[in-house]
């Protein structure tokens, strides 16, 4: 069971909860967790005990990626769950940056969903995960190609 949370210097960019939690508690936990994690210094270890959970976190550029896992879960493999997720984002967006996640938050959620489900790994293969997302993108292109072109021009 994991709560993947991804945040940046105090701003929450993406969060996913795999246990039923009240909105109010979510906010409280996120606030508390951000304080704890942001206060950590660079060379410190990537794991800490928090409430009855273990926090596994890693910083990538301006973003902190955190997972809250249970007592018996494996810390190192969780760290690599984070890394694999970052790789997936990177592959999909092409050197991902924070702005990609802000502007395409729904895509980031889709990728996370394809990778983790109910807090467990669905597939560890990069190809396996991205295939699903890209298929969806192709479907979308077919759906909306006339409009997409217009919008694209509007953007340009």
């Amino acid at each position: 069971m994991k709560n993947g949370v991804c945040s940046r210097q105090g701003k929450l960019r993406l969060q996913k909860w795999y246990t039923a939690t009240a909105e109010r508690d979510k906010k409280k936990m996120v606030r508390e967790l951000m304080q704890v994690v942001l206060a950590r210094k660079p060379k410190m270890c990537s794991f800490l005990e928090w409430r009855d959970l273990k926090i596994v976190y890693k910083r990538y550029a301006s973003l902190y990626f955190c997972c809250a896992v249970e007592e018996q879960d494996n810390e190192l493999i969780t760290l690599e769950v984070i890394h694999r997720f970052v790789e997936l984002l990177d592959k999909y967006f092409g050197s991902v940056c924070e702005l990609d996640i802000i502007f395409n938050f729904e895509k980031a959620y889709f990728i996370l969903d394809e990778f983790l489900m109910g807090g467990e790994i669905q597939d560890t293969s990069k190809k396996g995960v991205l295939k699903a997302i890209e298929q969806a993108d192709l479907l979308q292109e077919e759906d909306e190609s006339p409009r997409s072109v217009l919008e694209e021009m509007g953007l340009a």
Binding site: M1, K41, C45, I77, R84, E120, T124, D143
Partner: protein, 967 residues
């Protein structure tokens, strides 16, 4: 791979996000959001039907606004509409919105379920996956009810696509976690287990999470997975990494799957089949060997993945605890990591070694690393690593190294992080006690603890040192001398004054021969601290003074003068005043003989579990400290409490006399408690109470987290927290436990902790304001409380409870307050049921059935057959029956499936013996009989005798006070 358009063409959304990012202030942002919300609302309400694209765009905007932290109260219907769209991206956004924003009790759930049903039967794999994701994300009971039957079929069907199988497996896992009763695997079991053999690694990776969870709950049914898991693991471990293509991660073959396989194996004992076991041992050896090979890559990902498998393999080796060779190899491997430059590895090695230390095979090997660990405690820059080092020192401590480790921990305590001090103090206290060979060392250690970290020395710790000093006459003189010296310090901690007061009051005579510590010097020393102390300490000191009068008659005039002065005899604190008045009177009217009897030296405390060990267990949760630790310690360290050496002292005397001064005069009709007893014990272990107040109290069936729940009801609301607003539910939870959350809604949370002894009880109610707005005119029917409850604040109420006679209806508590002008009125049942006043009674099989037969008249028996609401787990049932307060009689009933219990209900009017028998019928999931037989119960009307003391005497009788909701 084509770089597909990343934005999906929703330009309006991109513009909106840019606008928000450009907002200079929070106000501007809110303004912009409100403008957008108004726009969307008008679009949704407008006459013109929106096309799918616009709907998708607006729903996506709403989602964005929600994720920024704003509330969204519309748009759900539009999102549900998107679900039935044929366009994938519209459906996808619809599902995303639902997953993030719809809570389980939404009335839309029926519509959503319909859409999911359509997608599941669409045979379009992408649609099916979306639907499965949505079920897993929401994971509510309604969803489980609707789909738990269908998903296993999809999972094992031959024609299901791999990607759908993966989603189905994890979706089922989620539903199993929320509603295990609805997911019936029966006929699917073997096919699900065989997914471990699936050709597609992704399917195996997903399925194994499901299988692990199911195996934990039903190990017997799933045990065939062991040999499959071993052969799968062996294929991965011995494979050349190229075999696995995309499942090789930084040159490590299938690290996730390997970890999960090793984790699955930890649900089972070592394989019985020799061949399987041989293969597994080979795998574990290979993994250990690989750790010694040079890395195939310098990337941290490579070593992390490799070491993740290694740590999981070590966890399995420790779990088996049967292969000395592997255990020692594991220990050596971890020893290397202790000095690794990666902080993460040092942390994990310390953590993992803690468990190795408790294995008899590797304990000695762990001990060889003591210097490294001590060094870690001193030099690690990260407090969480230091914490692990302290844990490991604690775990590796035994008689041979206790003095060194305790000394190191004490010196570390001086600079330790505040967050871990209390735990460190407990650990030092436990080790000092457990491995004390000479008691002067023990006393020195504890007094040092108080000196260094007095604020963190909890009551349990100083109670314990007193308990031990009282029980060991060979250390009493030394203790008196040492506290006397410690008290000389100009500023000493109040806990030191407490220990000093108590010990000098008991054993001051042992050092009185020395003129430097003559009785008067001792008294003046203690009294010089008096004015700086809190009320409970002063109360204790007053008791010490009266003991002085008995020990040293020459101090009588001085002490009487002190007691007589206005600041004592007219003290505004009623307890202090009372003690002063009574002690003064006692010292003036009682004869020397009477005085000597009343103020006799404390009898030894009965032997029982150390209160500090119980406290540490409570802090760390179950499993952190092994239950027999103290016994082990005693075996090694000798009889510390000395109870064994004083066979003449019956524990009954200890339990009652030890804590009280009996006042023989009739005018003084109550007991003075000396020293102040712990107000409340919330530990699951009744024997944790040092002062023996609850020596025979029932074992509470509260979950282990209940202890901490009580300290802070708000942050720790664990699984025990009842559903909002259902007090009946909340009430029933309290039948078998004493502490927890009684009630919770949007505004208010009410936590309860309570304790019962004989026919008396005390209940603490904590009213927590969950809002940020204050409650005004806050009143309860029990007794006055502060009418203002600030936002986020908590008020506490204490009530005393006396059970006058047998009752069946719980007393009601009415709470009124105003929240933002609106009057809130709540009526709740107080969680007081007759079983709280049970005193457990042990009896033999013969006695039990003889009494059972005697109680055969119809009005003496109640019987009920009911359906079990939960799986009938023997241990759970036992815990509940113990929680009920009765004694659970083992080996009494000839049928081992039955449970029999006995107890006496203590009321003021009478004592009622109760025998109870539970006959579970596992096949039908029915408890076939629940007869309760009791003596002489009768009906009385209800009366509430005073405002602060709630006395219970409600009607009725041989009524089943336990029902299917509880079991």
């Amino acid at each position: 791979m084509p770089a597909v358009s990343k934005g999906d063409g929703m330009r309006g959304l991109a513009v909106f996000i840019s606008d928000i990012r450009n907002c200079k202030s929070k106000e501007a942002e809110i303004k912009r959001i409100n403008k957008e919300l108004a726009n969307i609302r008008s679009k949704f309400k407008g006459d013109k039907a929106l096309d799918g694209y616009s709907k998708k765009k607006y729903v996506c905007k709403l989602l964005f606004i929600f994720l920024l932290g704003h509330d969204i109260d519309f748009g759900h219907m539009e999102a549900v509409n998107l679900l039935s769209s044929n366009k994938y991206t519209e459906k996808q956004i619809g599902y995303l919105f639902i997953s993030v924003l719809v809570n389980s009790n939404s009335e839309l759930i029926r519509l959503i379920n319909n859409a999911i049903k359509n997608d599941l039967s669409s045979r379009n794999p992408t649609f099916m996956c979306l639907a499965l994701h949505c079920i897993a994300n929401v994971g509510s009971r309604e969803m489980a009810e609707a789909f738990a039957g269908e998903i296993p079929r999809i999972l094992v069907a031959g024609d299901t696509m791999d990607s759908v199988k993966q989603s189905a497996a994890l979706c089922l896992l989620r539903l199993y976690r929320t509603s295990p009763d609805l997911v019936l695997m029966g006929e699917w079991t073997s096919r699900v287990v065989h997914l471990l053999n699936d050709q597609h690694m992704g399917v195996v990776t997903a399925a194994i999470s499901l299988i692990t969870c199911l195996s934990q709950k039903n190990p017997e049914e799933f045990k065939t997975c062991v040999s499959l898991a071993v052969s799968r693991l062996s294929r991965i471990v011995s494979s050349a990494s190229t075999d696995l293509q995309d499942y090789t991660y930084y040159f490590v073959p299938a690290p996730w799957l390997s970890c999960k396989l090793l984790r699955l194996l930890q649900c089972y004992p070592p394989p019985e089949d020799g061949a399987v076991k041989g293969r597994l041992v080979e795998c574990l050896e290979t993994i250990l060997n690989k750790a010694q090979e040079p890395p195939k890559s310098k990337k941290v990902q490579h070593s992390n993945a490799k070491n993740a498998i290694l740590f999981e393999a070590i966890a399995l080796i420790i779990h088996y605890d049967s292969e000395p060779n592997l255990l020692v190899r594991a220990c050596n491997q971890l020893g290397q990591f202790l000095q690794h430059r990666e902080t993460n590895l040092r942390y994990l090695a310390l953590e993992s070694m803690c468990t190795l230390a408790s294995s008899e095979f590797s304990h000695e090997a762990v001990k060889t690393h003591i210097e490294t660990v001590i060094n870690a405690l001193k030099t690690e820059r990260d407090v969480s690593v230091r914490q692990r080092a302290a844990d490991l020192l604690y775990a590796m401590c035994d008689r041979s190294n206790a003095k060194q480790i305790v000394a190191e921990m004490l010196s570390y305590l001086e600079t330790a992080d505040y967050s871990i001090r209390e735990e460190m103090v407990l650990k030092v206290a436990i080790l000092a006690e457990k491995y004390a060979v000479d008691y002067s060392w023990y006393v020195d250690t504890i007094l040092n603890l108080i000196r260094i970290a007095g604020d963190y020395v909890s009551e349990e710790v100083w109670y314990r040192v007193i308990q031990i000093v009282i029980n060991r006459d060979d250390v009493q003189g030394y203790a008196a001398k040492t506290v006397f010296e410690a008290l000389q310090a100009p500023a000493c901690h109040e806990n030191m004054v407490k220990v000093g007061g108590y010990i000098l009051g008991e054993f001051g005579n042992l050092i009185a021969g020395d003129p430097r510590s003559s009785p008067l010097v001792q008294f003046n020393l203690l009294h010089s601290k008096f004015h700086l102390c809190s009320v409970p300490t002063r109360a204790l000191l007053l008791s010490a003074y009266i003991k002085f009068i008995n020990l040293f008659p020459e101090t009588k005039p001085t002490i009487q003068e002190v007691l007589r002065c206005d600041s004592q005899i007219r003290n505004s604190d009623v307890e202090l005043q009372q003690r002063a008045v009574e002690y003064l009177k006692l010292s003036s009217i009682a004869s020397t003989d009477v005085l000597a009897t009343v103020l006799e030296e404390m009898p030894p405390f009965p032997e029982r579990e150390s209160s500090i060990l119980a406290k540490l267990k409570k802090k760390k949760g179950p499993g952190a400290v092994s239950g027999n630790e103290l016994e082990e310690g005693k075996r090694e360290g000798g009889e510390l409490n000395g109870a064994g050496e004083r066979p003449g002292d019956s524990s009954a005397i200890g339990a009652s006399n030890a804590v009280r001064l009996h006042i023989p005069t009739h005018s003084l009709n109550y007991d003075i408690i000396y020293p102040p007893p712990p107000l409340f014990q919330s530990t699951p272990s009744p024997s944790a109470d040092l002062l023996g107040l609850r020596s025979a109290a029932p074992v509470s069936a509260a979950p282990p987290s209940a202890g901490s729940l009580l300290v802070d009801v708000f942050s720790e609301a664990g699984p025990a927290a009842p559903a909002a607003g259902a007090n009946d539910d909340g009430f029933l939870r309290f039948v078998c436990k004493n502490n927890g959350v009684l009630f919770e809604n949007q505004l208010l949370q009410i936590g309860v902790k309570s304790e019962y002894r004989q026919n008396l009880g005390r209940m603490y109610l904590f009213y927590g304001n969950k809002t940020s707005v204050q409650f005004v005119n806050f009143t309860t029917t029990l007794k006055p409380v502060d009418p203002l409850v600030e936002g986020g604040a908590q008020v506490q109420q204490v009530i005393n409870i006396e059970c006058l006679t047998v009752f069946s209806d719980a007393p009601l508590l009415n709470i009124k307050f105003r929240y933002g002008g609106a009057l809130q009125n709540l009526t709740l049942k107080l969680p007081v049921a007759i079983n709280k006043f049970f005193q457990p009674t042990e009896m033999s099989s013969h006695d039990f059935f003889q009494r059972w037969k005697q109680l055969s008249q119809p009005q003496q028996e109640a019987q009920k057959i009911f359906k079990a609401n939960h799986a009938m787990d023997t241990e759970v049932l036992k815990a509940k029956l113990l929680g009920l307060g009765t004694a659970l009689l083992e080996k009494v009933d000839p049928n081992p499936d039955n449970f029999v219990c006995a107890g006496v209900i203590q009321t003021k009017a009478q004592q009622v013996g109760c025998l109870l028998r539970l006959e579970p019928n596992a096949q039908a999931q029915v408890h076939t009989h629940f007869p309760v037989r009791a003596l002489g119960l009768e009906s009385r009307p209800l009366g509430v005798s005073s405002v602060t003391t709630l006395s219970l005497c409600v009607s009725v009788v041989h009524h089943s006070f336990i029902c299917n909701k509880c079991l």
